[in-house]
Subunit: 307 residues, 5 copies
């Protein structure tokens, strides 16, 4: 194991050898193995948005095996999906890529301003399917946030006892936040801090804007002149807010956008000290060959091969 990976594992000194091994498994897999950087393929949109909205533009994606293949061919560090999608392929692809079982999900046939996703999997299922980690979404700002934190607490404790890693999607959302506030830099940094305090090993947040949502926080950002003008500065602040960089923080790609923008964002994440990306729709909603090339360009940016 190289020095950088050893250094990262050292941040998680309170964890068991089993959990450290699973974190290492993800860090040492694929195109970015050993760099300390991560690109993860997540495919939960079939559940979250519906099948046609997710897969009609590239119908191969209806097939759960396709996403395993894409993640493996592109050299992603891990593949994350809900129970059904993993069950459908875990046996075929056993041992070929680290898996993350997403343990809670939400659909838009019934939607709310203050969401509470359903818990749709368990640590035992993750073990049965040979996963390296469990994933869990929290919505800080939701009136149900306390319930989600308590669900995460129980799941994280059980996962750590089982030697798994814990990946937390921390997405501010709820009736007291403005739409703009969901990606405000003070709110995203706070969401990263909450995930870290709840015991996440890997934290996934959205890329923040320069907007400041909370009056009490704005006062401090102004007084201390915290640099948040460029995206790379904001990434740096989020990384700092995640235990001064002692927790792995990765950023989500969001809705489909043009490649140039995604590459620019990856450069900003890299320059700000971020640990990588988790890219779903931008990768599986295009032909596979194209997607592999796209993902590898991003990985190249993180690895330093692509400027």
């Amino acid at each position: 194991m190289n020095a950088r990976i050893r250094e990262i594992l050292n941040w998680y000194g309170s964890d068991s050898a089993g959990t450290l091994a699973n974190i290492a498994r993800m860090l040492n897999h694929g195109r970015l193995a050993g760099t300390g950087k991560l690109v993860i393929l997540p495919v939960d949109q079939g559940f979250e948005h519906g099948p046609a909205r997710s897969f009609a533009s590239n119908p191969l994606g209806y097939n759960p095996l396709y996403h395993f293949e894409l993640a493996i061919e592109a050299g992603c560090n891990a593949y994350a999906a809900p129970l059904g999608f993993l069950e459908a392929g875990a046996h075929h692809f056993a041992g070929q890529i680290p898996l993350i079982l997403k343990l809670n999900n939400h659909d838009v046939l019934h939607d709310e301003k203050d969401p509470l996703p359903a818990v749709t999997g368990s640590v035992e299922e993750a073990l049965r399917l040979g996963c390296s980690a469990v994933g869990f979404t929290i919505y800080p700002g939701s009136s149900h946030c306390g319930h989600m934190y308590e669900q995460l607490r129980a799941i994280a404790e059980e996962a750590k006892q089982a030697g798994l890693a814990v990946v937390v999607w921390s997405y501010p959302r709820g009736s007291e936040l403005s739409k703009e506030g969901e990606t405000a830099i003070d709110v995203v940094a706070y969401a990263a801090q909450i995930a870290a305090q709840l015991g996440a090993h890997i934290i996934k947040v959205k890329l923040p804007t320069a907007h400041l949502e909370q009056a009490a926080a704005k006062k401090v950002y102004d007084a201390e002149q915290i640099p948040i003008k460029t995206l790379s500065e904001r990434v740096k602040h989020v990384v700092q807010s995640s235990f001064d960089g002692r927790r792995i923080v990765i950023f989500s790609g969001g809705a489909k956008s043009d490649d140039k923008t995604v590459y620019e964002e990856a450069r900003a994440i890299r320059d700000g000290g971020g640990f990588g990306s988790i890219i779903g729709r931008n990768s599986f909603q295009r032909p596979k060959a194209d997607a592999v090339k796209f993902l590898q360009t991003i990985m190249g940016i993180y690895a330093g091969d692509v400027p």
Copy 2:
């Protein structure tokens, strides 16, 4: 075991031998044994609609033994019913037909726009009664959907550990859906996807109409020109939305209608790649001899004996 059944079982590679054996048991039983097609007799209407509305037109149906006999004589793949109905005959007919214990039920003495059925059975009861599978209804779109998904998660996990199969009735319904929306093609396809992601082995949905309910989905159906004009095209889309056909999807018969319509629907299901039907009221609300003939005609359509 023939090649088609072997192929189907292969889709469920993450499951235990016990669960695979129970799926095989249903696929290899009755008139359609070995075809990969299924016709299941479900009788939960006594609970869901009341005894007279269900059985007065054919009073033999008040007797729980009658339905075992009907399913066996007609050569159905399985018989599904709530606890009481199964308890009343499981001992007499032990080993004669695969049984599915329906684990949640709802009655109309108290009805709501956003239904939450009561859990009225358990995996342990299913084992005690010698069942091959448990059945569970979810209502995507209900404000209680998250609670139902979590109930299903726990039940499915326990059922799989016990070597049972999991059959999910996925019926969109709730205050945010229009009446027409409950059978809209985008909504039914989404309901099938949710059931698949929750880990169902067999999914039961209603036959979809060409209506599109959700604005965000409609945009995609239009843009991608997904074919949904004929019933058989819509069945095909639902099958595709169930992990590209790698999950067994069957369709419900609905309220009593004329035989010709039911036969037409069976042909559309067959031509669209559907796996069969689950037919209650149309079969047990007529004289037994007539019902056996009716069910065997449908099975003939699926088997290819009847055009």
Copy 3:
């Protein structure tokens, strides 16, 4: 064991020897032993209506030992009461009469249109007190009905595992039912069906009137010309709605009324194929000698000794 009892036990083929023995214990006890008919003494009115309203007219009834004595002297098949009343006498009268522990109760110091009784006992307590059965009340039509069904499910499963019988009081009540609807024939028959589907061995309902409450049901009763004019026809329909007579259904006596009426009702129950009565206030709210004579007259009607 005589043929009739053997026939009845045969309906419960899925149950353990322990549960069958306890059903047989009740059927083979007292004045009606071996007839397949049952008269049960229930005394939960102290809890449900308060002590003075229940016992002031015959103050011996304040004493819990009194009701054991009354049930034994009259030759009832069983005695049913809440935890406190059974605890106060179970030791003294051990082995002298089958006991039914009523596991949920409700009082009128706080009343609601949609009642949810409190669970006030357990299967373990029933075993400790040497009971043959547990009793549980459900209120189909209450907005809390789902919760009660789920409580009953858990209790019935546990009781059956412990070799006890399950007696269900099924009393339609709730904000969507009219007062008249609570005893409407369609509603009472539906309530009996629900109890049977939930796995009850013995079902207790109120005597139904000829009123039809639900529009969708009324259509069927009219179309199929189900005979419901006489009380005995209605009893027959309720018995039919209880798995075509393959579940024991008994009828409650209700508030105190004149003896002639009660005898008439017993004859109608007998002629309609009902299995007997559960009679509280009409028996314990009069002097003991009188009550014994009264109960034995009813038993005589069921046994065929009294015309």
Copy 4:
């Protein structure tokens, strides 16, 4: 053991030797040992009303050891308090006086018309602290009454399995009761009956007035001419309503009042067949020597030494 104690224990024939021993321990302790009468010191006012309102008038009472000493010196049968107060002295005074751990409590920093106390202790804690009994408060008439009954059910079952006695404070209160109704004779008698039916060994109620709260009950009290004019008649009716005197019923002292009134009440309790008193504020809110004398006068009234 004398005949009266043996007679009382005989009422609890369904209980284990362990529970009987603990009931006997309380009946055979202190000044009233062997008389079948009880005077208990309860100190939960620090939690229920706040420290200054409870202890400022006699500041020694801030110290938890003080109340142990007072109860021991006065010769009370038992001392009842919440977890913290018992933990603070149980070790020092081990074996010197029977203890009752009060398992639920309520404070007035947040108050409601329909109270639901928090469960603040457990049967396991009672065992750890060497208690003879657990105490639990129910508020019949509260919209939360069902929840409290279910909590009591579980606690009482567990306590009996552990050989402890169960003391129930049954205090009618809630939005449907008038203030006067909380101590109405029909309501207090009903509250005693509910506690008895829930399995209480010792029942604590407030002294009832001659008011009749419930219309349906009033009709019976009038028709049956139940004597409720004098306090002693009302005590007798409450005792009768507690299984015809086969459950121990004691009465609370309420807020501080002049000694003569308290002595008069004790005489009425004695003459009506009540089993004693539970006296908090009237005893610990005065100097110790004075309190000991006061409590011993009351005990004298019960013992028959004081007229």
Copy 5:
């Protein structure tokens, strides 16, 4: 062990040797070892207020290791923090300072007038991380107070069984309290009493003002002329309200203020018989050397070295 520590441990006679050892561990650690006084460093503001508001003024505080170092260098008795912060350093600093795992937390992305923090840790996690105690916040006055008391009851029972100490943050807050009432002397004294009755070993409250919030309490404070004019008198009353000084009560520092004020408060705490301080923002929001000096001055005041 010196006499004062022995005396303090003696107050907790009902606790296990394990718990006593952990209380002793805190009392015998750091600059105040053996004095019976405590200064604890708590850092939960990252969760409670957000990272920038907490750490931007001294950015070293983003790093969880920093706070371990600060607490150790300053010679604090213990360091308290949520799960994530402790996990990040417990391994590195194992055995160097007693740790308190804060088991519930609240963030301001979603705030309420009646707060209910989420449970974000467990006793098992505290054991895994080598902690001496668990910390838990209750908000007396919140409409959720009963729920928090019940959570604390379960956690405290489990912690004591595991040989840990229990530290309770008791902060009155809720819709029925005025803003001024949250620190009113009657309310703070009541909050300390509630924590003590719930079984806390160490109680943390805010410094009280002379305001009296509750009418019923005010009457008693006036009648009994309880001295509450000076801060030191009020501290004395709070200590008295905590079992007459037989429970350890410490006071929080609150928002950042000038050093002189903090020193004055420490003197008042010392003179009123308080046991020390828990000081977060005032210490970690300044340069470390400065913070160490500041904390040691406070410790000097408690130790008597600084006037």
